[in-house]
């Protein structure tokens, strides 16, 4: 599972708590790996470009290192397309996985999220996989997220998230609720207990999908994600050396 920021052990542990949401499939182990550099957040095309490169670099060696699948710990699915073009093992994006699953659970889904600045990352993935028409709405609670500490100290956000999710169901016509970030996993249980519609927790979903793909012998289509004629892994690695140096100098 590729975490999209350089995180310390405590911060990684907060992300790894997603694993407690459901028992892992038998024989499955999940390791979390942070990136070496990152955008400060995911609110601008400037950030998305950097995110793609740093997550790509972080996952590039996964197959050689013996992993059976890669999951990206962000619903922006950053780095997924480029990693698929290099790796034969499944590369799972929680964004596209949760929207596709939502369409198996209801007619239309809604996305509840922390702040409006994340709306474009949903629109990007939805248009890429052609499911924009199945999205009943996106609602934000306008609470600034923290990609290091997640929901810690944000108890006031829980009732707001619940209200927003209820409005997606009653006003917008959503049959299923998707979470707008894997970092919102700590809110999942509260929302599911208080709502009558399914609530998808994208991070845990992604490693169940990864296990299913590996077990079914399925992976991404090479015609949709062709390999480069000239791969440049050394160049990408040098770019991250440069990025880490530049960030260290600040």
């Amino acid at each position: 599972m590729l975490a999209p920021f350089p995180l310390d052990a405590d911060q990684l542990a907060l992300r790894a708590k997603q694993l407690d949401a459901a028992p892992l499939p038998d024989g499955v182990e999940v390791d979390f790996k942070p990136t070496r550099a990152a955008p400060a957040n995911y609110v601008s095309h400037h950030d998305y470009v950097i995110a793609d490169v740093v997550l790509f670099e972080s996952g590039l060696q996964a197959q050689a290192d013996g992993y059976d699948a890669v999951c990206i710990d962000t619903v922006s699915d950053s780095g997924v397309n480029a990693l698929r073009s290099m790796l034969d093992i499944p590369v799972v994006g929680p964004g596209r996985s949760q929207y596709a699953l939502a369409c198996m659970l209801g007619r239309r889904f809604g996305i509840v999220t922390m702040w409006k600045q994340w709306f474009p990352i949903y629109e990007k993935v939805l248009s890429e996989i052609g499911l924009s028409d199945r999205c009943a709405g996106i609602r934000s609670i306008d609470v600034t997220p923290d990609n290091r500490t997640l929901m810690a100290g944000k108890d006031h956000a829980l009732p707001l998230l619940l209200d927003a999710a209820r409005a997606l169901v009653s006003d917008d016509g959503a049959d299923v609720i998707c979470l707008g970030s894997t970092t919102m996993h700590e809110a999942h249980a509260h929302l599911q207990e208080n709502l009558d519609v399914p609530v998808i927790n994208p991070g845990p979903l992604s490693y169940f999908i990864a296990e299913a793909l590996a077990d079914l012998g399925l992976t991404h289509s090479r015609s949709a994600y062709p390999k480069p004629q000239i791969p440049k892994p050394e160049m990408v690695s040098a770019m991250l050396d440069g990025a880490a140096r530049s960030e260290g100098e600040r």
Binding site: A37, P39, A40, N41, V43, S44, H45, H46, D47, Y48, V49, I50, D52, V53, F56, G79, N81, A82, R84, S85, M86, Q117, P120, S127, E128, G130, S223, A224, Y225, P226, K227, P228, Q229, I230, P231, K232, E234, M235, V236, A238, M239, L240, D241, G242, A243, R245, S246, E247, R250
Partner: protein, 254 residues
């Protein structure tokens, strides 16, 4: 004087850049406008895979980052992949023209359905991506290729006799499939535009020169991209992006 920066998506030498610069002579440009061509520091060698597209995004972002402080009034990306355009828009207030989406959308002002002529089979995937991203699939009569590997440095110079008939045949297949307008699938095809538009009965859109016209129009009308569609980053990482491309360039030179 109006200065426009044209970003070239490959690390080309001066003569190769001059081949691309020749596009500006195919149309009349305002005398007070000058075009300056700048290649990326490093980038992908091929352009047929998500790996390549991603590398080009960051390479072009880096190449254009300082355009505004360098005194340019606008930026044009010299590739219909529009690579780097969205990220540059998030950083710059001056207009950033993306010839891919511009030529497809412009073609719909000339006909009901457009056809795209691609270079070769491995190039088809990136048009699929653009058609999905812009929701233009229903207005696309098809994408046909002329089965010739690209030569990013020399383009079709010296190979006209062999290549032009193949290009013409691909365009005619597009017309048969219902295209009212042909869009050239790459700015590198500009040398074929004169021939194709003389032998075909439908308009042929040449994305490079079109983008030079459109950017002048935007400047004249005082228009630039919408900040709500392309928000600025909360924390800019320009130094980091420059360091990444400097490091990439050092490896590429080895």
């Amino acid at each position: 004087m109006t200065k426009i920066l044209v970003l070239v998506p490959f690390a080309l030498d001066e003569a190769q850049v001059a081949n691309r610069q020749a596009q500006t002579r195919e149309i009349s440009l305002r005398p007070d406008v000058t075009f300056h061509f700048k290649p990326v520091k490093a980038g992908p060698t091929s352009f047929t895979s998500p790996h390549d597209w991603m590398l080009l995004e960051i390479a072009l972002l880096e190449a254009g980052l300082s355009a505004e402080e360098d005194g340019f009034d606008a930026v044009v990306i010299d590739t219909v992949s529009d690579s780097g355009a969205d990220a540059l828009r998030s950083m710059l207030d001056i207009p950033v023209l993306a010839p891919g989406r511009a030529s497809l959308i412009f073609s719909l002002t000339l006909g009901r359905r457009f056809g795209v002529m691609a270079q070769w089979e491995p190039a088809l995937a990136r048009y699929e991506k653009v058609l999905d991203e812009w929701g233009l699939r229903s207005r696309c009569a098809g994408v046909e290729h002329f089965d010739t590997p690209p030569d990013f440095a020399n383009l079709i110079a010296g190979k006209q006799d062999e290549v032009l008939p193949k290009m013409e045949a691909a365009c005619r297949r597009l017309v048969e499939r219902g295209a009212d307008v042909i869009c050239l699938g790459s700015t590198t095809m500009h040398q074929a535009h004169g021939h194709l538009s003389s032998v075909l009965d439908v308009p042929v859109v040449n994305p490079g020169p079109l983008s030079y016209k459109l950017i002048q129009t935007m400047l004249s009308l005082g228009l630039s991209h919408s900040r709500t569609a392309y928000p600025k980053p909360l924390v800019e990482k320009s130094a980091m992006v420059h360091a990444m491309l400097d490091a990439a360039s050092a490896v590429d030179d080895d």
